[in-house]
């Protein structure tokens, strides 16, 4: 896959993104490239600016500066709705679900289906049955087992809740899916299920951006790894070219990646402490 995808044009691309919150620079000239059909892991320390970066890429925040391109075309997202219209779907770190509402309502939140004819256009009547059926079909499609779609999301387990958020984004995504730490709150079994889901999405041909702190997961599933550090991309590497220890060292700034793709010791002390050397 990487053989062809390195030559393909990026689906989603960003150059020089900047976002400041008062004194804090959350995104500091970040670049980003996502290729067709790949799983791109985004890793970095807490506070490195991963969430801010993907929020800029999904319209949840408007960057102060920089350019975003979707399939080569410059785009400007005025809000989450605008990115959604371009087919970009996001599973946010806190899931962005409405806990008191049921699963089907959550899946269709912000894009409810109305009844056909004047019932829908004049009386604005929702088509609850059609929404439930479609939600059920999507859940089944992804192999998510749930007992009832009329159950409030707050009555679900953490893993089921995560699955609902993932299923929602998969159901609607046309061009890109972004997931911010989708396995953070999950046990081993549930994490495995989410990783399976990601694979199934990738097999459908949709590229996935996966933010994660879990190195084994990243190495298991990612085609490429975007290492984020101090608000910008520190490296863009392939997992087969580096060891986990090296990647962690890049993340913490002990190693940096040279033009040719090799690693260079940036901080000798830190590198020694991490037990890695340059090649």
């Amino acid at each position: 896959m990487s053989e062809t995808s390195t030559k393909a044009a990026p689906v989603l691309q960003a150059r020089g993104l900047v976002k400041r919150y008062g004194q804090v620079t959350a995104i500091d000239g970040a670049d980003f490239d996502l290729l067709p059909g790949e799983v791109l892991a985004v890793i970095g320390d807490n506070g490195a600016g991963k969430t801010s970066l993907i929020k800029a890429l999904t319209g949840a925040l408007v960057p102060d500066r920089g350019e975003i391109r979707l399939n080569g075309e410059p785009v400007r997202f005025s809000g989450p709705q605008s990115a959604r219209q371009y087919g970009i779907e996001t599973v946010y770190q806190d899931l962005a679900v409405a806990p008191s509402m049921d699963i089907a309502s959550n899946m269709f939140l912000g894009r409810e289906l109305r009844r056909p004819g004047p019932l829908g256009s004049v009386l604005r009547l929702l088509d609850k049955k059609r929404m439930r059926e479609q939600a059920a079909a999507h859940m089944a499609d992804l192999g998510i087992g749930l007992r009832s779609l009329t159950q409030a999301v707050e009555t679900l387990s953490g893993g089921q809740r995560q699955a609902v958020a993932v299923a929602r984004s998969v159901a609607w995504a046309r061009s890109v899916i972004v997931m911010d730490e989708p396995t953070a709150a999950l046990g081993v079994k549930e994490s495995g299920q989410v990783l399976d889901l990601i694979r199934r999405v990738r097999d459908k041909g949709l590229p996935v951006v996966l933010i994660s702190h879990n190195m084994p997961h990243v190495f298991e599933i990612a085609d490429r790894i975007h290492v984020h550090r101090l608000g910008r991309r520190a490296a863009l590497i392939r997992p087969q070219d580096h060891s986990m220890a090296e990647v962690v060292a890049i993340m913490t700034g002990a190693l940096s990646v040279s033009e040719g793709g090799g690693t260079v010791v940036a901080d000798t002390e830190a590198a020694k402490a991490a037990g890695v050397t340059a090649d």
């Binding site: 949840a60 809000g79 989450p80 709705q81 959604r84 996001t90 946010y92 806190d94 899931l95 962005a96 679900v97 409405a98 806990p99 008191s100 509402m101 309502s105 939140l109 912000g110 894009r111 409810e112 109305r114 604005r124 009547l125 929702l126 049955k129 439930r132 059920a136 079909a137 859940m139 089944a140 192999g143 087992g145 749930l146 007992r147 009832s148 779609l149 009329t150 409030a152 707050e154 009555t155």
Partner: protein, 331 residues
């Protein structure tokens, strides 16, 4: 769960009976029925069409305010200004119409717009600045209260044209007289039950009350929605103002002073959570009726008014306790 059936075949819609049994309005409904049974046994006058018509008339104004209050509480807000805004609206309608400077229907329209304007202003301050709803509406309570007394010059306004009092007229239903105003209130409850329960707008209001940020991330325009809810609530208070005039036949600057808390009481008794995102307008109707039935029944039993207030207070605390405990079970 066999392999041959589709994986979602077991995801049946719950039956109507099951839905009713698990509905959050079940508690208030049972409480209302128990209260009715109790008062029927303790007073012969209670169980009559005339008495029920009286109860509905007594709760009509607070009930209408409680509709607007429900909308705002569902968004995790609160409105302390509703009674004062209604009082000001009623004085605007009454004074403009009584002076004869504008036609009565225009006076009513201007009164409705003034109330909607107060709601809009509340919404702009809550969402635009932003400020806590409690503070904004506490301030607006005082502003509307003061304007009511300034504009009315502390005078009760009487000799109103019939357009302003027509909703207080009655029509016979069986051997009971029903006011047109009661019908307006019931129609408003049904309208908002529909809007909240069966339209996308309703879903968005619940989502907003659950979490404004989640709602925003799901593409819901939360600023417009919040401001719209407050303005709409204001318009409903305007309708309550007209009902108030029709019930008393005058424009009374002293009216509505405890109605803000009474409307919150009704909303809470109806099972709506003060934290937002949970509750129904039909629950509020039940809450309104519970308060009305208790006050009426206790009155028929000859219990003094302060004791009625005492019992209402205890009921509210009980209702919130039950709500909290049932919610803890869910988590």
């Amino acid at each position: 769960m066999t392999a041959t059936t589709p994986a979602y075949a077991h995801l049946k819609d719950p039956t109507t009976v099951r839905r009713l049994l698990t509905a959050p309005t079940l508690g208030p409904l049972v409480a209302l029925i128990l209260a009715c049974v109790f008062f029927s046994l303790s007073s012969e006058q209670f169980l009559s069409g005339g008495n029920f018509s009286l109860i509905v008339q007594q709760v009509m104004v607070v009930g209408t305010l409680a509709i607007g209050q429900t909308l705002i509480i569902l968004t995790a807000g609160i409105d302390l200004s509703c009674g004062a805004v209604m009082a000001f609206g009623s004085i605007v309608m009454a004074k403009l119409a009584a002076e004869g400077s504008v036609p009565p229907l225009l006076a009513i329209t201007l009164g409705l717009l003034v109330c909607a304007g107060f709601g809009l202003l509340n919404g702009l301050l809550v969402k635009g600045v932003p400020l806590p709803p409690f503070i904004v509406t506490l301030g607006m309570l005082n502003v509307a209260f003061a304007l009511t007394h300034i504009y009315s010059e502390e005078q009760t306004i009487s000799r109103l044209p019939s357009e302003l009092t027509v909703l207080g007229d009655t029509f016979p239903l069986g051997n009971t007289d029903i006011t047109y105003g009661s019908l307006v209130t019931i129609a408003l409850f049904l309208l908002f039950a529909y809007a909240l329960g069966a339209t996308g707008w309703g879903r968005h209001v619940y989502a907003l009350g659950n979490s404004p940020e989640s709602a925003r991330l799901n593409g819901i325009g939360t600023t417009r929605l919040t401001i719209g809810v407050y303005a709409l609530a204001g318009l409903v208070y305007g309708i309550a103002a007209l009902l108030l005039i029709s019930r008393t036949g005058v424009g009374d600057p002293q009216a509505g002073q405890t109605d803000n808390l009474d409307s919150i009481t009704a909303v809470v008794l109806g099972g709506t959570s003060l934290f937002g995102g949970r509750g129904t307008v039909l629950g509020t109707l039940l809450g309104v009726l519970i308060v009305g039935v208790f006050r009426n029944g206790l009155q028929l039993m000859g219990v003094a008014s302060v004791y009625q207030t005492l019992i209402t207070g205890i009921l509210v605390i009980l209702a919130v306790t039950v709500d909290q405990m049932s919610r803890r079970k869910v988590r």
